[in-house]
Amino acid sequence: MPVLLPTSLSEATQMLSDTPGATLLAGGTDLMVEVNFNHRKPNDVIALRHVPELSQWSLNKVAGTVFIGSAVPYKHMESGELAQLVPALAQAARTVGSPQIRAAGSIGGNLGTCSPAGDSLPVLSALDAIVHLASVNTTRDVPVSDFMVGPKRNSREQNEIILGVTLPIRNGRQGYAKVGVRNAMVISVASACFALQDGSPRIALGSVGPTVLRCPHAEQFLSQNLAADGSVSDDVAKEFGRLVSQESKPIDDHRSTAVYRRHAVGVLAQRLVQRGVQS
């Protein structure tokens, strides 16, 4: 199995175009698991570790956005400047696996796998992130909601590399919370990201639908019921939680039950909406 090691984005897209069907390898924390279980048998592998464009993040102060390269590992999001800029992403990054996984795993891999339980995905969704894709001749910007099309399915073309994502830097409160059956190193049973961005509330849910879900009704209700200072009364928070529960589409599986998941996202939503606010 040949492993190609491009050292620039143009080389990487060229290699991908020259070897159709090649598998992209970032941190390998999803891919190698699948290879080990014989669920995937890559013929050619393009390892992205040495592509500098994918391993950097940058702040655009004028636009109020941050670009995060697809291969930036979670450990760089957990704390430091990025964590200040997008705190919900920092919280999501901290919940991923163990220190070893966070040292290797990346948003590009999370998007590539596109599991409804991917922890960075509700954050990207709530913040209406843009996914940047690059192929030999073209680049494409796709809203994350159009990128994630179903369980473990995304709209990336075979010849495209996920370059990175662009997110707004925080200008209101935001947070991420994840329920699992143990206190660390666990696949989410239900998760939620809440953000008040440009004064408008957004909520996105993980593990309670075929892909990450936004809750338009709940968001609309909340935007009409926010206090002038952006705070949320207990009653409003409760109703918001109820609406979020209603908009979730969970299933029963061996990790949990639909009933519990529906309940749990509601509780998370209710809590997140008040988190960091003096009650």
């Binding site: 901290r94 919940t95 994840k178 059956v181 061996h254 949990s256 309940h263 998370l268």
Partner: protein, 753 residues
């Protein structure tokens, strides 16, 4: 507890494990690390169905794959087609019927694991699916056809004690469910087999709990005399009961004999879930009668242990369960029925706690209900009922062991509670942990208790003796035994014994293999007592002969000689000579078998002295709960354990902390989920073990009242830590939320919905 370190690594000192540093550095060679020149790999084809008839097996395509050296099925087993620890009911390979998901059907040997994988994929098995017997009650009722020639009921045992019509003003009842726990050792099953040159024997290096029992069962299946099946213990990465049964031993030996080449087998994590027995899931109903003060009058109970497809040790697990119905409490009247049944669920057998875990979860739930009904607290109800040495069990057996139950409870109760949660707290340490689901204001704290009694050594007339040889030569000792070192620390303890008895410093443990008599199993908390007794006995015999030698040489009556540190000293004269000097040019070698006192079978009313000895422990759990989300964080476990004597306090603490983590797992997360015979979560992604963020602070105290029956005064300490901690944690959750939860593991939805 305090850990002391003295100059010499003698008994009572916290000697360090000889393999500790190597294990931490990753240098230790586990069985899976073994290799041999010209070695082949073996792999097993397993049934994807829980119950099916095998119509045909076509391995013609597999044979065509380059690198495949042999393929074997039930037709290739030369000896007994079945094996088993108590009854031989489990096929080496399924012939006509598969009775559980994962049952072996064939094995291949090939040049590479990948070739093996392809070969297995190329074997075509045609099945006719049969109805799955998954409900234990159906197995008892006799309304469904037998799924095995031995029938669906593995064993029934009744216990009738005292006045079964007795009753009292307090009557409490509960039905408790205990989930299927996995031992989840980190080192999966592995073996490397070498055929003898003449083709009529085999040597197998294997990770096991009991070399001689494996040898016996393997020889029977291989159709070889026992002396032509030699076993060597490979490095073992944990056991907890899961290595008591045969897994890949016979397959490895057969493949090696067939190919005349060394063959290695090693399970991956998923296969491991199918390759060994698990803890029995059980349903336990209990009704306790007590007087108005909460003192026990009578216990009624019914146990159903789901043994899965094959018997394994189910019948012994059942006996342990029913004979521990009363817990560490006095009660003279009882009527108990216990059933171990056969189903198409995964086979269950030994796991740390062996039947007592299930009984304890139920009786401790009941004690709290009695306390509530009597208006007393959980500590008082346990104190007023606490058993003492000399009390009688519902089996009629008198507890002759030291039984410091009252002291264990009192001392545990004296351990300070953890500080209350501060107003500002790092969310990582709240329920939900790194998921940051909860804030301080969402949390309620609960306190719960669990106290247990556990038999140690084998029961019901079984003579599980242990053998050891001690050779003293030129001031150094070599110890030989077949005691499986599975991580419990016998390789640390055995040299400590020799140093204490013989005054030597230089002690080597010889290869652990079948070139000496049996040591019995590393299970039932028995090796410190049994193999410790054997090593101690052998060392004492050597010391006698050493004293005779020194006495003769210096003209002193040997009876006057003692060992003082590293010297031989005449207690009435002036002679003082170092052991080192006195043994130059001398070789003394002695072998000793330690037998415990005999035990009896139970009669049809469950009466009889069936157990050897008992150990006790108390646990108090403090648990933070997020009632709305159903998430928990075990904050602190306070425990006091009856250890007889702490021969190596650090080892004891290791067992306590590890056992508590395992008991915590059963309390709040560890469960093999089986639906209609299918295992849904055979991976560490979905079978969750506690992480560092789930592990509590453990505050441990030891009660050291040497047991006169025990050769070194020490009781086994392996199982007790994991038994009553589970009910203690669940009781703390109940206390926090004010809701009865009758099952473990407790799932979030059990708390909040």
């Amino acid at each position: 507890m305090t850990i002391t370190k003295t100059r010499r690594d003698v008994l009572g000192n916290s000697a360090l494990r000889p393999d500790g540093a190597a294990k931490v550095r990753g240098d230790f060679s586990f069985t899976s690390d073994l290799n041999a020149e010209n070695m082949l790999w073996g792999a097993t084809l397993r049934s994807p169905h829980a119950h099916a008839r095998i119509i045909s097996i076509d391995y013609s395509e597999a044979w065509k794959i380059t690198g495949v050296e042999t393929i074997i099925t039930a037709d290739d087993v030369p000896g007994l087609p079945t094996y088993g620890l108590i009854s031989q009911d489990q096929p080496v390979f399924a012939r006509d019927i598969v009775r559980y998901m994962g049952e072996p059907i064939a094995a291949v040997a090939a040049d590479h694991p990948e070739t093996c994988r392809r070969a297995l994929a190329a074997i075509k098995v045609e099945y006719e699916l049969l109805p799955v017997l998954s409900e234990p009650e159906d197995a008892i009722s006799g309304t469904v056809p037998a799924i095995h020639p031995d029938g669906n009921l593995i064993r029934h045992q009744r216990i009738v004690a005292g006045d079964v019509s007795a009753t009292g003003p307090i009557v409490v009842e509960g039905t408790y469910d205990i989930g299927m726990q996995d031992q989840a050792f980190l080192g999966t099953e592995a073996a490397l087999g070498f055929p003898d040159h003449d083709g009529h024997g085999v040597e197998v290096h294997v990770a096991t709990q009991w070399l001689h029992e494996d040898q016996k069962q393997m020889a029977a299946c291989l159709g070889l005399p026992e002396n032509r099946v030699r076993l060597v213990l490979g490095g073992v990465g944990g056991a907890f009961g899961a290595r008591e049964d045969i897994s890949l031993q016979v397959h490895t030996a057969l493949l090696a004999l067939r190919t005349k080449r060394p063959v290695k087998m090693q399970y991956g994590r998923e296969e491991s879930f199918f390759g060994h027995v698990h803890r029995h899931p059980a349903k336990v109903w209990m009704r306790h009668h007590a007087d108005q003060n909460g003192k026990l009058i009578k216990i009624e109970a019914r146990f159903v242990f789901d043994g899965g497809a094959y018997a394994s040790t189910s019948s012994a697990v059942l006996i342990n369960g029913v004979t521990h119905t009363q817990g560490p409490y006095v009660c003279h009247n009882a009527i108990v029925d216990g059933y171990a049944v056969r189903t198409n669920n995964p086979p269950c057998g030994a796991m740390r706690g062996f039947g007592v875990v299930q009984a304890c979860f139920a009786h401790e739930g009941q004690m709290d209900k009695i306390a509530a009904a009597a208006g007393i607290d959980p500590v008082t109800v346990r104190l007023i009922n606490a058993m003492k040495t000399g009390d009688t069990l519902i089996t009629g057996q008198t507890v002759e062991s030291v039984a410091p139950v009252e002291r264990l409870i009192r001392e545990t109760n004296e351990i300070p509670l953890p500080a209350p949660l501060p107003d500002v707290v790092d969310e990582l340490h709240l329920p939900g942990g790194s998921g940051i689901t909860s804030e301080r204001k969402h949390i309620r704290r609960g306190i719960g208790w669990g106290v247990s009694i556990k038999n140690i050594m084998y029961s019901e007339g079984f003579d599980d003796y242990s053998t050891a040889r001690c050779t003293l030569k030129d001031g150094a000792v070599t110890l030989k035994f077949a005691t499986s070192e599975v991580g419990q620390g016998f390789v640390t303890l055995a040299p400590q014994i020799a140093r204490s008895v013989l005054g030597v410093d230089d002690v080597v443990c010889d290869t652990i293999d079948t070139n000496i008599g049996s040591a019995g199993s590393t299970s039932a908390s028995r090796q410190t007592w049994m193999s410790g007794g054997a090593v101690d006995g052998a060392c004492r015999l050597v010391r006698e002969r050493l004293f005779e030698h020194v006495g003769a040489k210096y003209g002193v009556d040997p009876i006057r000689l003692i060992i003082d540190d590293t010297d031989i000293v005449d207690t009435v004269g002036t002679l003082r000579v170092s052991v080192h000097e006195a043994t130059q040019g001398v070789t003394i070698s002695e072998e000793f078998e330690h037998h415990h006192r005999p035990t009896e079978d139970l009669d049809e009313n469950g009466q009889g002295n069936c157990h050897v000895a008992f150990a006790f422990v108390a646990h108090r759990a403090v648990v933070d709960v997020d009632p709305e989300l159903g998430l928990v964080k075990v904050v602190q476990i306070a425990t006091t354990q009856d250890v007889g004597k702490a021969l190596n306090p650090l080892s004891v603490l290791g067992q306590i902390e590890g056992g508590i983590a395992q008991g915590l797992g059963l309390a709040v997360m560890e469960e093999i989920i089986v639906e209609n015979g299918r295992v849904r979560n055979p991976s560490f992604t979905d079978y969750l073990l506690p992480t560092a963020l789930d592990a509590p602070v453990v505050v441990a105290r030891l009660v050291e009242e040497p047991d006169p029956q025990a050769p070194l005064g020490a009781k086994g300490v392996g199982e007790p830590p994991c038994i009553s901690v589970t009910p203690a944690i669940v009781a703390a959750i109940r206390d926090a939320i004010g809701k009865d939860i009758p099952r473990c593991p407790v799932r979030p939805q059990d708390i909040c919905l």
